[in-house]
């Protein structure tokens, strides 16, 4: 599974990057790579079964905590 994810991300990178290099869009390339790496990192975490928090549960806990505190 993880190999498949890495292959997909590599494919995306190879699809997009040559055009950026050809036009010398270095900043774009950097941001693109950064975002892609973030996506890769998160997908590998999810694929290997790490329990990440749910966004709305975090907000709910935060707000109930705030309400109790006030």
């Amino acid at each position: 599974m993880i190999i498949l994810i890495v292959l997909v991300f590599l494919g995306l990178f190879l699809y997009e990057a040559p055009g950026l290099v050809a036009e010398e869009y270095w900043r774009e390339l950097a941001v693109f790579t950064l975002l892609l790496l973030l996506g890769l990192f998160l997908s590998i975490l999810l694929a290997s079964g790490v329990e990440l928090p749910y966004v709305e549960s975090v907000w709910l806990d935060l707000f109930t905590g705030l309400k109790k505190g006030l």
Binding site: R27, F32, L60
Partner: protein, 363 residues
């Protein structure tokens, strides 16, 4: 990236489909069920108020997106910080809408299909649409919106034989606090999210018509949603508030002479297109915002990574729909108010305090 232009009419249509977006299948303020179609007008008023403030900001800085305004008003460092907050808002809005539609499909039509099989094609189409640019999104949006409006108006005639007037009663049976709280919930969830359009307004080719276009879109969307809610209450009655997706359920009830039955798929597909436009706009604004945050010259390469991020976040947005309903009830009003009213108001106030030469109007 900067050569793309949309007309005020296209902006109106975009506002309509963005506002209708995911609210149409999953209404907020559901505990006010029977009064929801009336409360809608109250919320529309508040929503127009929020939009007016946001548009004042745009008037003060014509031709600038929200993120550029942030940098002008707060300076580069704090401006970027505020912009990051808004990026998160767009990300969560898009992922939330996507998650709702995936849940809708999973509970109704594709009950045993895995999430990813629905999500991946969806995100690929969204990215494809975004890469074609805002002009294409706006143009393809026109027939979709017209189809949806036509369907909603046609459904008035489809439900004539199952519409019971008694179902509408009792009206006005809520305490004032509940009415205000629910109207706030609706004001921030479908209407307030239009703050996203501050990122797209500079692309409108006639800036002086922007305010009218946005207001027209919001009013029309509000009327449509109110009409649909009115029909849903009339058909389903008091039990309607028990359903997670009342709109879908009320189309299921349509039965005209045993011939026109089980029509729920038609509205479902129709509303999915609105969801598509909403998610596409979220991804598009995120890409434009990221490009401005890092001073990039091209947005094209950003769509794929952002699409992947939205896909991943969609899987982590809520564990079950009941938690999402609780979130909509308890947290959404505060969360929305912060982004739709508080931050634009703060920016507007700071902009007035700083004064300066931004007074000229784009007339």
């Amino acid at each position: 990236m900067d050569k793309e232009r949309i007309s005020p009419r296209q902006l109106t249509f975009l506002v309509i489909s963005f506002t209708i977006g995911s609210w149409i299948v999953l209404p907020s303020g559901i505990e006010a069920w029977q009064n929801l179609w009336l409360i809608m007008f109250l919320s529309l008023g508040q929503g127009l108020g929020f939009a007016y403030l946001a548009l004042l900001l745009f008037r003060r800085h014509p031709g600038k997106t929200l993120f550029e305004i942030h940098e002008i008003v707060y300076g580069p460092l704090f401006g970027k910080l505020f912009s990051l907050l808004f990026l998160w808002f767009f990300l969560q809005t898009g992922a939330g809408a996507l998650a709702v539609f995936v849940t809708l499909l999973k509970t109704t039509v594709f009950t045993t299909t895995p999430d990813l099989a629905l999500l991946i094609p969806w995100v690929i189409i969204v990215v494809y649409g975004c890469r074609r640019g805002i002009e294409v999104i706006a143009r393809s949006n026109e027939p979709l919106v017209l189809a949806t409006i036509g369907l909603i108006i046609a459904s008035v005639f489809l439900v004539l034989n199952i519409f019971e007037r008694e179902n509408l009663l009792p009206l006005f049976n809520l305490p004032l606090s509940a009415v205000l709280w629910n109207s706030l919930g609706i004001a921030v969830f479908p209407f307030g999210q239009n703050v996203l359009f501050l990122m797209l307004l500079p692309k409108v080719n006639q800036p002086q018509k922007v305010m009218g276009a946005v207001f027209r879109g919001m009013v029309l969307a509000g009327l449509l949603l109110s009409l649909l809610q009115f029909l849903a209450v009339g058909v389903l009655g008091k039990v309607g508030e028990l359903f997670v997706f009342p709109t879908y359920e009320f189309y299921r009830m349509i039965n005209i002479g045993e011939v026109l039955t089980r029509l729920e798929l038609i509205p479902l597909l129709n509303f999915l297109t609105m969801g598509f436009i909403k998610i596409m706009l979220c991804v598009y604004t995120m890409a434009v915002g990221t490009a401005q945050l890092f001073n990039l010259r091209a947005v094209q390469p950003l769509f794929f990574p952002l699409g992947i991020l939205i896909l991943l976040l969609t899987r982590q947005i809520y564990p079950s729909i009941s938690l999402h309903l609780q979130y909509i009830k308890d947290v959404q009003p505060y969360f929305g108010l912060f982004f739709c009213l508080l931050l634009p108001l703060l920016t507007l106030g700071m902009s007035f305090l700083r004064g300066g030469p931004q007074r000229e109007m784009a007339s």
